[in-house]
Every structure is written in C-alpha cells, then in structure tokens.
Symmetry: C2
Subunit: 514 residues, 2 copies
Amino acid sequence: MAEAAARKRSRGGGGAARRAERTSVQVETARYIERNIPNMELLDEAALEMIEEHAETVLEEVGVNFVQNPAALERWRAAGANIDGERVRIPRGLARELVKTAPSRFTQHARNPAKSVEIGGNSLVLAPVYGPPFVRDADGGRRYATIEDFRKFVKLGQICKWLHHSGGTVCEPTDVPVNKRHLDMLLAHMTLSDKPFMGSVTEPSRAQDSVDMAGILFGKEFVQENTVMTSLININSPLTFDDVMMGALEIYAANNQACIISPFIVGGAMAPVSVAGTLVQVLAETLAGVAYSQLVRPGAPVIMGAFVTSIDMNSGAPTFGTPEASQVTYGAGQLARRLGLPFRSAGSFCGSKLPDAQAAYETANSLNMGLLSGVNFMLHSCGWLEGGLVASFEKFVMDADQLGTLHKMAQGVTVNEDTLAMDAIREVGPGGHYLGCAHTQANFKTAFWRSEVFDYKPYETWSEEGARDTVALATARVQKLLDTYQQPMLDPSINEALNAYVAERKASMPDAFS
Amino acid sequence: MAEAAARKRSRGGGGAARRAERTSVQVETARYIERNIPNMELLDEAALEMIEEHAETVLEEVGVNFVQNPAALERWRAAGANIDGERVRIPRGLARELVKTAPSRFTQHARNPAKSVEIGGNSLVLAPVYGPPFVRDADGGRRYATIEDFRKFVKLGQICKWLHHSGGTVCEPTDVPVNKRHLDMLLAHMTLSDKPFMGSVTEPSRAQDSVDMAGILFGKEFVQENTVMTSLININSPLTFDDVMMGALEIYAANNQACIISPFIVGGAMAPVSVAGTLVQVLAETLAGVAYSQLVRPGAPVIMGAFVTSIDMNSGAPTFGTPEASQVTYGAGQLARRLGLPFRSAGSFCGSKLPDAQAAYETANSLNMGLLSGVNFMLHSCGWLEGGLVASFEKFVMDADQLGTLHKMAQGVTVNEDTLAMDAIREVGPGGHYLGCAHTQANFKTAFWRSEVFDYKPYETWSEEGARDTVALATARVQKLLDTYQQPMLDPSINEALNAYVAERKASMPDAFS
C-alpha cells in the first residue's frame, strides 16, 4: 500500500501548478519530427548481410513480374536485366546500383510553406489512415464512407496538431463515381487543408489529373521543379508490379513527384511465414521497384515502404500490432538506412472492430515501434480500424493525440545544468516536495506531455461527469475540433480554377461505379 | 483501395492453416524472458556521466534521511558517512563502492523448481499488480478488495502462461484486519500457486513472518542459503528512508532474501520536474538504499528500482504511459547496468478508470518501453488500473495476454537458411501465395504470436456473436481461466503447518483495522 499512499500525497499538493490556465484546443501544427534519439538496431550486421545477399539471389534467379507493361520491360532490358515474357531477372548488384540515384531525403512542399515536410534522414512525417471503404463513429455505427465523411476527415487532419500531412484516400467516398472520386478528394485536400497531401494512383490518368491540379495550386513551373505530392504505389506481393500502379509511378516519377514504393504483405500469405524470409522478399521487391523509378527518371524522389503484418492462421485474418510485424519493420528500417533511402512503415494498425482496448494495445505497439525503427513517413498514423476496412472518427482523434507522445520521445533527454536541477534538489531536500519550488514553477508548463483526450480527473469527478470511457471522450473531441475548424486562406482565383478543372473533367466522363 | 483489395485476397486462402486445431487454454508457464535483442540506449555517455557525478554531489552535500533508525545511522557512521541528526551525508564514491558487493544477478527459487526465475543480466521476470485497495470487474464494478478477490487473482496468476511470478499484494484484502492480512496473503501465494512470490514489508514483524512461513514451505536451511522471496522496499522520495521499510529491508537482507529498493516518484512532486533531475535523484536514492542493504549484509540480493511517472499539472494527478516516464526508465536502466545491478521498472500503468482504450494505450507504451529499457523485474505487469488504486480482473487477463508479445519480441529474429526461406520464395514465385507451401506448412503453428483474448474474426461473425468489445471478451476469459484452474500439489504436512502458523499468529494478536 506504500505506493498508493505516496500517490495520494502527490495529489495533495500542486496548488500553484493547478492554477495554470487549462489548455485550449490547439490550432497550430507541430513541425515534422526530427529524431534526437538512436534507432533500435534489432538485427546484427551478419543477419543484415545474409538478407541482402539472398534478396539479390531472388532478383537474379526468381525475378519479378512487370505485368502488361512492355515499356517497363524495354527499360529493364536496356538497363541489363534478362527478360523472359513478363519476368524480369535482375543481375546481382544491378538494382542496388540503380537505386543510388534516388535521393536520401527530399522536401515535400505544402501550399503553406510553414507546413512543408522533410522526408528522410532523421525525420518522421505523420499522415492519416488511407483507403478504408467504411467509416465508423459512435453515433452512426459502421457504414459506407461518403465524400462528406472524407471532408470531415480532411478538416480533422488540418486541425490536429500532431499530424503533419493531410494524407490521400482518408476514406473511399463511395457515393462519388469511382472514376471521379480522385477529383473530389484532391479538391478537398487542396482547399480544406494547407498541409501536404498525396496524389491518386488508381489509374495513370488520375495521376495526371493530380499533377495538373497541383500545377494549378502551386504553379506549373513550381511543380516541375519541386515535389508537392507523395503517392502510394503498392507492389502486388509476391514480386509482381501491375500496370496500373506502375503507370501511376511513371507519371509521378517523370514529373519529379514522390512515390512510396511499398510491398503490401500479410506474412504467411504474400510472403514466407518467417520474419527473415519476409525481409528477403521485402528487400527484393523494394529494390526492384525503386530501381525501376530511377529508370523512369534518375533522381526521382521515392520512399522505400514496408506494409507488413502477420496472420491469424486460425481465421486467415491479418493481425496487427504483433511482435512479428514489429520485427519486420525494425529490420526493414535497417535495410532502408543501409540503402540510404527514406523509409515508410508502421501506423495506427489494429484488427479490432471497435476503438476499444484491443485497438489501442495494437496501435500503441505499432506507433512505438514506428518511432524506434526509424520510419520517415508514417501513413495510417491515425484513424485505422478493423484491419483498414474502417476509418474511425473517434480513433482518428485518439490516435492523433497519442502521436504527441512520439514528438516528445523523439526529442530525447536534455542534460545540462538547468535540467540536472541541483538547485531544486538542494532547495527541497529530504522529505520536501517540488510542486512549489522555483525550478518547477519555471518549467512545469512544458515539462510533461499531456493528452487532450484522456481523462486525468479524480474518480469522483469522473463519475459525476458521466463515467465516460475513451470513446465517449473522443466523440466529444471530434465535435470540439470540427467546431474549431477554420478553412485556410486560398487565393480565390486558384480556388475557382481548381473547381473549374474538376467540373470540366467530370463532365468529360460518364459515371463509373466499378 | 489497393491495400483493402490485397487484404481481401489474403482472407481467401489458408484452408490448410485454418484446419489447425484451435488453441485451447494454456496451462503451462512460460520460462522467464531471456533477451536476445539489444537494449535501447537512449542517453549518451556524456549525459550518463553528468547524472552520475551530480548524484554523488547530492549524496555528499544534501544527503539522505534515515528516519527513527539509530541502528542505521550507526552503520552509516561506521562506514564513513557524516551523520547530522537523521541526515546521512555520504562521501563521494562511498555508496558506489558499497554497492559492489551486491550480486549482478540471482536466482529466486519457486517451490516448483521449474518456475524458479533468474533476476539480472538479460532476464525479464513478469509479476502482477501490487497494492490496490479496490478491485473492478464488469459485473461488480469498483469496490473494496477482499481476501476472496485476492485469492482469485492468485489463481489467475498461477494459470496465466506469460506471468512468471505470483507477486505480492495483488490487491489489499480490506476485509482482513490490517495486522493479519499478510498471513492470509502469504498463505494464498504459498498454497494456491507454485510460482515465486513476494514477502510483506508493512512491518518488520511481518517480514519476519514471511521468512518464517517461507521456512515452513521450503525448509529453514534452504531459505538461509537461497533466495525465495523478492520484496518491495519503497524509498520515501525525496531522499527519505523510513523505519518501517528499512526495518523490513533489514530482516530480508539479514536472511539473504531479495529486496527491490525503489523510489516512488511522481515527477514534479517527489522529484524535479525535469527528466535529467529526476534521474539524478533516482540514482542518489537507489545508491543510498542499495549501499545500506550491503551494510546490513554484504552480498544481499537487491534490485535497483525506479517507479517514476509524470504528473498532470492541471489536476495534480499522476499520469502514465507518458514519454517522460519512458525517458526516465530508459535512463535508469542504463544507470543500473553501469552499476551492475538488476533493474526493476515499467508495468501495466495507466490512469484510466476503465479498461478502455486510454488504459491500453498507456499500458502498451509502458510495457514496450519496459522490454526495451532492459528491465529485469517488472512488477505491476498486469492488472493495474486507475493509477494503481484498482486491480481490474478484465485488465489483468488483457495485460497478461499482451505479455506474450514481449516474449516473442525478446527472442529477436533468427536468420539462417531455413528462416531465409529461399525454397519457399522459389516455389511460390511472382503472383503466387504462400499459404499452402511446404515452408508455411512446416512453420505456421509457431510462426506468429496470437492473442488468446482479442477478436480476429470477420466482421459478420463478430457481429453475430454479440459485437463484443475487449472488456466483454476479457470477462469471458477470466471465467474460462478460473474454470481451468487447478491447485498445484503441496505436501499435506507442509500445508497443515502453514495453516497452523497462520492460525497461531492470528490468535496471538487483537484485530487492528488501521
């Protein structure tokens, strides 16, 4: 009971500190994270070398398929690969050589220059969930996502302090024809947010629309000389590059826009059931994909991605926040650093159907691992639910709040005469307390990270206020943030031009729903 | 939508894997963790040296108080410290010198030798929550704990696979007189579990009862020659050692039984508001405490503890799973390793009133950090709720399940010709899937850690089964585990002697309730 007693003692004091103003809703955006802490190097040198050697063997002997893409085969042939039908076998060392022209870091510009981000090196950029066809909130339950849901998420992303990036398909607006969705999504990111965003990848023509609309927003010349979009190119694991994704990659690379080149792997299904085997395949796939981007345009900005999770062999369902997923991510981060490439992995991953304790354990496991594994771009960093089938409003703000802990952890520990606090220790002495001392008074406002969602009140107060769980607190938080939302200023002529572009493109196509 | 599509594909396969037997309730106990992964070294050499230098200054110039303990003052005086009233000022380097006789690792024996644990080096031993006066479950809500609750927790601890240790005061049995509780608690640990356990520290006479009862259980000679208890000695931070805790420490050390010597610190209240200043104080306090244990008996087994958390300066409440708490733990782990002492920290810490998402985020942050910071003994590793005021039945099994992820992470990644899986990659090739291949069939049963609590079912099945959240799943798990519980065999004569000891001691004292 000694610890409970001591805890009570701590609640007794703190008058001065408690008189501090209550923190109101934050409207500023935190700068992208620059890590001041070491990465966790899980695998040793010998293990990494074996994986690298075997990945070269996979590229040389097994090869990769570039599907329905004669131009890609021709590029590979010219570079020295062996082509057999759609199979591309890459001689040992060739992919690694080609990868060398990819930049180790690049700037993705936002229309608000203060929100531009650096991707690579010791940076960590946080972007929201991507791709769910469903949304969920406490009031409406689980339902197909609409463009209105999409806009609400973009607004939340704009106002959440710890998110650096507006993302891409934060949910699928299923009420908009499939061939026109990208236009509405881009328009929302460009007008409702001033954070950086992602382009469309579901058809090469949609990638071109993304580049054209970015040209209106940033100016055409600016776009040709600078990176203003980072888009998600998934590899069809195992070892397959389809023509739709590659077509989008070709457009983006040719226009100097960034791509995440990323296997999507449920371990045991799309890759070997072992962590080491999965890492061999991840490395082979990303080497081939990044090398191909450099064949399209040497120097095109790319990110080495690894979306890898484990599987429940009982149900066949992917499982999240598991140790094997963490082990792959730690290892993939090490491999990316050895290649000098920016790294994308981790996120608010969970398999749970609800934003409950399962969701939070799984998510926290992945977020912590993401920070320590050296991730530079974290897609899905908030809002992911039910294996990515659902974007959850409550979980979006819960996760986005937790992202604050990554910022603080990444700062590391400052050790100097002020923080060593000898004056305070002398002032207080044995048996005293620090709440009122000069050092505490000077530093308490910024000393400790504080959640804007969680409940820190005494049990009695919490009970009187309705004994709310985290979901109920998050429901209130979603509304509070949306009430605070203000649309960022945009030149009216640009706004008009963007809307005209969307209207014209929509009018040029019949609706398609599949 | 590409990731969602790929995910669906993964659900389609896996017939062979899904035909595997469903995992039943586990009754075996996992061996304590031996880490095969590096520790996270957050602070650099220069920072650690500054902290060490300042801790020596604190001991030399500020000193520590040993309250109402003339014998302790005499021991310190004889060792070369400067005594002024109850203040003990320890010349630079003296405490560090005395600490050298403490073992860097030791064995705590269980009555079932297969469950004995190694504490120190690369080990991690997991013990349940300690100290809450309240319990909570979904059916009964929050209420004062009773001895029946206590026994239920001991039974759960015995049957939870990933717990290595039965703990101590898993909850306060408030229906038993305060001067007799320790007898019933010890009897429960000794008879309902065969895992290692902790002794009483709330009075020196209760520590003596613990030693005497251990003598009945293990044999008196065995106890004199071996460590069979690890008990929790809290320092009254800042810099104060009270006579009750020190009295218990003296009994245990004299009898070669282990103690965790641990500050209990809410940062900003019992220590400076800065991480570096807190580390200075933690090191000064533990140096003084461990040195004192070695004055009582050179070679007595001890653990350097650090219970440190942050504070919400708005409400004065301690906050858990925060970045500052992690930073202190990482740093304290480094300091403990430099002293060659076993290290205790981290746990299933949370401030939430319910086992909800807040509780799980906070807990997962702390558990992950505990693994990576090199903790050797993790008290409170499951069941902690509401800042430690409540032991939660549901959270106990939820946390205990998550402890499985630490075991798997700690194994590290095995890289050899089998795990590199080249045969599987060749067999499957581009575009195939791995679910049926030989490598998967040979390895899938042990490849991926799997929760025994979480829901991995498809949405439709989960809905039909009642759309249960984690708490509801955990309620069912608690009951399933208790139904499976079997009391471990104990020699009837020992059982009789233990009961007789308890009866005799109870009869010798009037009831006391405060």
